[in-house]
């Protein structure tokens, strides 16, 4: 906002000015820049400018072997890193036809769902921070800390897990992890009621979210927005139900759908999803079979047969598609990440026309964006 740069005032019907909700802004949770042409308090045109944290993961895929690319998967969306590792590993397993033992599949489901809850808790805290309520963030982070400690004891790191391998997981689950998870799940049910009382029923929050940032299901379909955004607009699309992968077939959970399509609907979808994930973790723990966690027949230098394969996973923010093209060499020919936040943000331009600044930021918060997820 340098004042020296005088905005050339072409003949505009109404005096509008460009407000830079710049790369450094508390509401963008990362380095996303929104170029808002504002007419007073109302936004006439919002143009997201991204690329500030673009690290070209796709090119990195082309100069590392299949196994060396694993740490990259956790860095694309660090809040739900398990799902990204799961997508990449499952895509390569689909290409190289590697069998995964059932125990490993269940461990994958448990860790992905725990990661989804921790990602939703971060979203819950940050979203309320955008709306001005500071305290719920710390309660949410208090719960999230329990998950991170559990996953840290299991995998060794808190956010960027490099836990999945082709054909299973790298180290087994010990019984104090299982006891820890059971304690966590048991402790989480009253916590959800606590959040509902403190925040969901709060009249100020409801007035702040109901009817704001309405996204129609047609707009979701046109822009390819998925996850809680499309489920908030009345379409029950969930990759775990549509294209069931891993062991989601024999776990029963339902997909929360709200048809209003406004910020409140997306908020309720995510809160309900946390409850469903808790149920999934409980069932998966009960059904955890014994047995190996890693298949033996995986060659050290992997050369999947030529051709292109894709694998879709339900990440915390929506549908994540990995498309790998291999030409029978140990280095991937092309790795393509279709990330959910990329498509969810693309509809922001159309959805936020004519809104006020605080509502547009509430809409941005309800889309639950992770900026490296957009820029890759």
């Amino acid at each position: 906002m340098s004042t020296s740069q005088v905005i050339p005032a072409p003949e505009q019907p109404h005096e509008t000015f460009v407000l830079n909700v710049g790369p450094q802004h508390p509401a963008t949770h990362g380095v996303l820049r929104l170029k808002l042409t504002m007419d007073g308090e109302y936004i006439t045109r919002a143009e997201p400018v991204c690329g500030y944290i673009h690290r070209m993961h796709e090119k990195m895929g082309e100069n590392r072997t299949w196994a060396q690319y694993l740490p990259n998967t956790g860095r694309i969306d660090y809040l739900a890193a398990m799902a990204y590792g799961h997508a990449y590993v499952a895509a390569v397993e689909r290409a190289a036809k590697i069998e995964v033992p059932p125990r490993a599949e269940y461990i994958r489901v448990i860790t992905t769902e725990l990661n989804r809850i921790s990602s939703h808790l971060v979203w819950f805290g940050a979203f309320l921070l955008d709306l001005g309520g500071f305290t719920p963030l710390l309660y949410a982070f208090d719960d999230r800390e329990k998950i991170l400690d559990l996953l840290e004891a299991l995998t060794g790191s808190r956010l960027t897990y490099c836990y999945y391998r082709f054909g299973g997981v790298c180290n087994d689950v010990d019984d104090d992890f299982i006891r820890g998870v059971r304690e966590f799940v048991a402790g989480m049910w009253p916590r959800m009621k606590f959040y509902r009382e403190l925040v969901t029923d709060n009249i100020i929050l409801r007035k702040r979210l109901i009817g704001i940032g309405v996204i129609s299901d047609e707009m979701c379909r046109k822009y390819g927005a998925t996850g809680p955004v499309i489920r908030g607009s009345g379409v029950g699309y969930d990759v775990r139900k549509m294209e069931p992968y891993s062991v989601y077939r024999d776990l029963d959970f339902d997909v929360p759908v709200f048809s209003e399509g406004d910020c409140m609907a997306r908020y309720l979808v995510r809160m309900e999803e946390m409850v469903q994930s808790l149920r999934i973790v409980e069932q998966a723990l009960d059904k955890l079979p014994a047995g190996p966690v890693m298949t033996s027949g995986v060659p050290r230098v992997l050369k999947p047969p030529a051709g292109d394969y894709c694998f879709a996973v339900e990440a915390a923010r929506g549908r994540l598609l990995v498309r790998i093209v291999s030409d029978n060499k140990e280095i991937p020919y092309r790795v393509r990440w279709r990330t959910p936040s990329f498509c969810n943000l693309s509809l922001f331009e159309e959805a936020s026309a004519g809104m006020m600044l605080p509502d547009a930021l509430a809409l941005l918060g309800s889309l639950d964006l992770v900026i490296p997820d957009i820029d890759r």
Partner: protein, 329 residues
Amino acid sequence: MSLPEPFRLLSFLVGVMAFVGFNAAYLVWVERKSAARFQRRPGPTEVGYAGLLQPIADGIKLLSKQLIVPPGADRILFMVAPLMVMIPAMISLVVLPFGGSLMARDINVGLLMMFAFGSINVMSIMLSGWSSRNKYAIISAARIVSQDVAYEIPMLLVVITLLMITGTMNLNEIVQQQEGWFWHWNLFRLNVNPLMPLTFLIFFTCMLAEINRAPFDMAEAESELVAGAFTEYAGMGFGVFFVAEYANIVVGCSFATVLFLGGWQSPFGLWSGVWWFLLKMYALVFTVIWVRWTFPRTQFYNLLNLSWQLLIPASLFTLILVAAMMKFL
């Protein structure tokens, strides 16, 4: 202490300024500690015992920072605005009856004077927003004006109803009328105005909105307007705004205590004195802090609707009700 008049006034003024300054500084510490307790964390503990020296440390840090005037900003206005925030808070305490005889100036239009200075606060924040030539500051300046105008009216109506009940503008007499047990307080004088707790609630909400606190802090909405009108202020400029906000809380709460909770009267009729006043004021201050750390921010137009469509009709209704009650009963 029958000092000759000018010296007595002078010592009181110094006392009031010390009271406001000391209070404002240590309310920062109280807020950070209680906010921490709400969020189940210890709060500042490193500087001094349990962080007691933290406000002083903040003060020194702010003093050591260079005060930068942004290029193209209106230099004079930019410099004057912080002063204009602090002065009304100090002056409006002059007429406040702290204790039995502890009162700087006993003016019989004390209520009016307190209100007059209360509204200067709005203009000074708007000036600071306007003069710093920063898009975010201009948006917040526009918001402050409409917000405070919207909340000045219900506050005035509530005070007028109170005026009709107490019959005097002199704050000292208002407090004397609330002598005796706590049901003599204006808050509980239901015989005259059965909706008195509702009027106190309206008064409390308007006061919150007046000083841009808690659910109504649209002016300094951290997550949208970064720091609102104070974005361009560094060093002590921001320090003064920050302390003035707490000074305004002290003024608002003491104003509410005097009008509704019987100033320095004790709840059970004996040993009434300045400590009761401080106790009640700090209880109200704690509620202000408590409200801030519980609720998200309201939308801007929702805030205005709340005032124009709910608070003003309600306060008008109580005004008419009290008038009718006094006329016929």
